[in-house]
């Protein structure tokens, strides 16, 4: 599940619940449909309300980084805590997307 807000150059995606191989497909399709229409300069992915995430979430972020690059835009990640942050660190996501400092 997710909620999307857009404001001019900014698109914010609030991801909600569990992100796994089962749920990721619908999430990325929903994000891409809006992103391809809006073509934002910055896509913010907010993980504050994500209760579980495995490496399927990494695929989701990397795919959106590629999409945003094709528009000349960037991805920012915020609100990732605990194991979700740990999975992102293993993947080295900080090298491809801006991450907030929240622990």
């Amino acid at each position: 599940m997710l909620r999307i807000e857009t404001a001019q150059e900014l698109m914010m995606v609030f991801l909600i619940g569990e992100i796994d191989h089962h749920s990721a497909k619908a999430m990325r399709e929903e994000i891409d449909t809006v992103a391809e229409r809006v073509r934002p300069g910055t896509l913010i992915l907010d993980f504050s309300d994500v209760s579980f995430m495995d490496s399927s979430g990494i695929g989701l972020v990397m795919g959106r980084v590629r999409l945003m690059k094709s528009f000349g835009g960037e991805v920012k990640i915020q609100g990732a805590k605990g194991n979700i942050r740990k999975v992102m660190q293993i993947a080295g996501l900080h090298r491809v997307a801006r991450m907030d400092d929240e622990q």
């Binding site: 569990e18 796994d20 191989h21 089962h22 990721a24 990325r28 579980f52 995430m53 495995d54 490496s55 399927s56 990494i58 695929g59 989701l60 990397m62 795919g63 605990g82 194991n83 740990k86 999975v87 293993i90 993947a91």
Partner: protein
């Protein structure tokens, strides 16, 4: 090591079962009184192993996945995830970070890296055409109550 308790779960390789499998295993592991972080570690590792069965072992088909969890003496938690799918040709290569054979599906190739980071021990036994057994082990520190 003596077995304190054990359980077995058999499910078809449908992606909707990913959440069920990791939650069921985590519920069983809860007997060891793990921390929230330890439970999250187990859930994440099991989710990776089960997803591998669905995406790779049984690509394009539905087969059975068996999960056997054990609580051993000394607070050791062990879970075996077994499939009778295609098997892995080169286990060493499959376990390398970022290696994936599922390019089109936005798979990051990090399943085994995540399992290795979150569990104490990961062993993989695979026979081409016969299937794969992934064994995950983690010691749960016994805390004073």
């Amino acid at each position: 090591m003596n077995i304190i308790n054990e359980m077995r779960l058999k499910i078809p390789s449908k992606s909707v079962n990913e959440g069920f499998a990791r939650s069921a295993v985590a519920s069983f592991a809860a007997q060891l009184d793990p921390t929230v972080a330890e439970i999250a570690d187990i859930k994440t590792a099991v989710s990776e192993a089960v997803t591998n069965c669905i995406v790779h072992a049984y690509a394009g088909e539905i087969g059975m996945i068996t999960l056997e969890a054990r609580i051993l003496e000394g607070g050791v938690f062990m879970v075996k995830i077994r499939d009778r799918g295609c098997g892995i040709a080169d286990v060493k290569q499959a376990m390398e970070p970022l290696f994936t054979t599922a390019q089109g599906d936005e798979r990051a190739g990090l399943g085994f890296s995540v399992m290795e980071s979150f569990m104490d021990k990961v062993t993989v036994r695979s026979t081409l055409g016969k299937g794969t057994i992934v064994t995950l082990t983690k010691k749960i520190e016994q805390r004073a109550r």
